[in-house]
Symmetry: C2
Subunit: 312 residues, 2 copies
């Protein structure tokens, strides 16, 4: 059996799994991280954890590679994380890829977490039947990944997929990135929470702490304001997808990440609005789907991109 | 010497040239067309003209292929022109590719004219030193082409590059395509003429017939309203380029077509505004250039895409 390790670095932990070619996770574990940890304080426990998983659950010789997903911009040649990883500052300008590749004497491949998500859905999830699709991960922020011709597209330097920062509304809301009108300000989990909180506040209804999950749960319970907030987010997502389809002529659009748990409450307004944002021939026959990997998306995505690049 | 024929179908004529691998045009000619011409009335004179060029200027055995550029959407498998060719209705649902390939017993390749423009700049023009770029043709309308990894990208069905119809201003101007806020409504030659005419009208200055060339000439003569119109178009182009760069991570943006004759008067505002519309790492080191093929762009582009696909 051929295995790769899928390692997903988040802000507070790294999730580690052993994955076979069919997308089965043989074993998984998580290692806690702190923002002030040094590079070695992050990587060494991850390596020990993976070593432990291999000893307990697999023949070490079956390990073909290590796939690594992180936030931010990863230089596709060196695997250097050159920026956009503010939650894990010790990784900046370092190569987890080189460190773990050396530790396990196998090829290692680091990629942006949204590119990994696209690789994961392509290999094991909602993208299995497609060769050309765009994926967005809608969580606190919005990430993006592209699959073209059956392969993850990484761009000139490896930075492709910053879909959260395309301008959907010139002169609109300021974004953390310093630009105005970024897609992320209108359709991320953060934006969804803010939109719902504003709607409640204007109607004199108590606010309290509102997460994207609060909004999705409220919509599911029939709260029309929460449903409206999801519909509006869906309209902005349709605009972003429409622009990308017009540029790239793809066969499917996939929505993953926490907010995609809203399911049809989010997908229906995307499908309904999409024709307003793309040329008729281009919108024709395009599928809009939710991601299928859910909680294991990080591990499976990191593993899938490694399998993909081992075969390349 | 290896030659291909480059044939560029416009609304009123087809331009035909014999082109070698270095981009030299050995001979060229044009054949007039009328909107009511039948398919055979269009294709037969083009074939006769190409035959004449071959007899007069080349050894027929040196012809390796025929490259064809047309407006509209071309199915990349069959070469069928499935729509978007309102100016040449007889070509709809027909394959010029099949007709000319059979007539000359060589491979023929039809592609959208903006994809051809990208192929032409890649092989012989401003894209020679780049492997990953986006090109827009700014004329009456806006067309788009993409080069990724050194090859023209055509998309799932062959419809990629409808950049003129990405939404840059939701709820904005209505477009012929039925959507609102399309890029083409803000930065095409038509949009530029309209913007300048409005500026003149509001200031009580006589209007008269205004073409994009009028605006460019006025700007060159120092007319600040015409300069402003070009600056505004440049800002919208920067927005569209920024969105595309964020999605695709490319190394260059090329502006071709008639309006690009404005040169730095258009390129400078694009460069100046671009950082407001893309993530810093993605905008870094991106080149913004004018196309270099000018009047021969149609013939050279059609030829270049044929050379590219002969080698594929």
């Amino acid at each position: 059996m051929e295995l790769v390790a899928g390692i997903d670095f988040g802000g507070t932990s790294a999730k580690i799994g052993l994955v076979d070619r069919t997308g089965r996770i043989l074993a998984k574990a998580a290692v806690a991280m702190k923002a002030q940890d040094s590079f070695d304080e992050i990587v060494a426990p991850v390596a020990r954890c993976l070593d432990g998983l291999l000893q307990a659950h697999a023949d070490r010789k079956s390990l073909r590679g290590v796939g690594i997903g992180t936030p931010g911009f990863i230089d596709k040649k060196e695997g250097l994380l050159i920026g956009g990883c503010e939650n894990i500052p010790a990784l900046k300008n370092r190569s987890v890829q080189a460190a773990l590749g050396a530790a396990f004497s196998v090829p290692a491949f680091a990629d942006n977490d949204a590119n990994c998500a696209a690789a994961g859905e392509l290999a094991f999830g909602a993208g299995r039947t497609f060769t050309d699709f765009v994926l967005i991960t809608v969580g606190t922020a919005i990430g993006g990944g592209l699959v073209m011709g059956g392969r993850v597209y990484r761009g000139w330097r490896g930075f492709a997929g910053e879909i959260g920062h395309i301008c959907v509304n010139p002169g609109g809301l300021w974004c953390n990135c310093g630009s105005r009108g970024c897609f992320e300000q209108y359709a991320s989990g953060t934006a969804l929470s803010r939109a719902y909180a504003e709607k409640l506040r204007k109607r004199g209804r108590a606010g309290g702490e509102i997460s994207a999950k609060t909004v999705v749960d409220a919509a599911r319970a029939g709260d029309t304001l929460a449903i409206d907030a999801l519909q509006e987010a869906g309209r902005w997502i349709a605009q972003a997808f429409g622009s990308i389809l017009n540029v790239l002529d793809l066969e499917a659009c996939i929505v993953s990440g926490g907010v995609s748990d809203a399911g049809e409450m989010l997908l229906e307004p995307i499908r309904r609005n999409l024709p307003d944002f793309c040329w008729p021939q281009i919108g024709q026959d395009v599928q809009v789907r939710a991601g299928e990997l859910h909680n294991d998306a990080g591990i499976l995505g990191a593993a899938a991109q490694a399998f993909g690049r081992l075969e390349a």
